[in-house]
Amino acid sequence: MPNLKDLKNRIASVQSTRKITSAMKMVAASKLRRAQEQAEASGPYAERMGRMLSSLAANVQDSGNGPKLMTGTGADKVHLLVVISSDRGLCGAFNGSIVREAKRQITRLQGEGKTVKVLTVGRKGRDQLRREFASLIVESYEDVGRRRLGFSDADMVATKVLAMFDAGEFDVCSVIFNKFKSAISQIVTVQQLIPFAVPGEAAAATDEVKPLYEFEPDEEQILAELLPRNLSIQIYRALLESAASEQGARMTAMDNATRNAGDMINKLTITYNRTRQAYITKELIEIISGAEAL
């Protein structure tokens, strides 16, 4: 017969676990809201930059010699993967799915005979990738946007990527991150950053009333400044999406954990009560049979 005291301790410990998970869920929910607001706030800038880029690109492509960030180096040998994960765990499949996708991409690219380099953002992704592909990791960042994710965080990553690109260390760059769909669903997304595919190019071409811009200084110079900016923006967007996804994933995971703990408490309480009754019955039988023996 199980010990009553053990059961009681067990219930108490599950109860305190439930308290922790439900508090974590609440924290994640409020952080999620903030992250979502931030992601929305960055929308206007990205949208306007996209608009400028497509009108610029339309002009430069006519002249046929765009900057390398847009046209690429002409080679397709070395790939750089920017893997964005989180610093902390307890967020469900969030990091697992990122790492799985990253591994898949690495294996695929290596299978095609290409060289792969990896840049990780976030501790979890680095730790998990290091087991198999330690030699591929060129740089890793931790504690990115721990307090509050700022544009400067994205800029730091972008500067590193650009420096590597200028040094000719890779030809193609993609970013792997969790795109936020809803609190319960995050989509692992692979987005190519370099060479940059200009958004809405086709739309711009069909747009009849597109105003003819003057450029000051000339198109190429503006584009040469705009493209690195754009890279930072794309990385910033990816970081924001990832941050929102992380909180969403954590919220869902903690919600499940809280519910599981509740179920467990119920089960344990039933066992506890049954055991207690069994003890009482046993003692009664002992007393009665003792009295009958007299």
Binding site: Q38, A41, S42, P44, Y45, R48, M49, R51, M52, S55, L56, G150, F151, A154, A163, P211, L212, Y213, E214, F215, E216, P217, Q221, I222, E225, L226, R229, S232, I233, Y236
Partner: protein
Amino acid sequence: MADKVEFELVSPEKLLKSQPVDMVVVPGSEGDFGVLAGHSPMISTVRPGVIDVYEGDRIVDRVFVAGGFAEVTEARCTVLAEEAVALTDLDRAAVEKQIKDLSEDLDDSKSDAERAAAESKLAVARAKLDALTQTSAH
């Protein structure tokens, strides 16, 4: 002057301003330019400096930007700024200290990349100081 131009100031982190104004003066990299309604479409880079927002003949708002891009159409003027601070929020002492620190960084810098980074930051800080000096002279 009934026509107004829709002025938007956007930083990567948020939309800072979106309002119809009479005129804005933007510090373009090839010289300041004023934008009134019906300006011909233009895209320009912006150097670190001050954007003046006019209502009538009065300056109602002065914002410091640390460089970026401006897109002008007939009805709209959009400035994509990397960093934007209202001029009144700038603190002279803090900026002077920043310039001093950055000058030291510049002297300490070892590689070309470090030097370039420090130089560009210093240029921004100097532009801030210039902007402050200008306002106090007014």
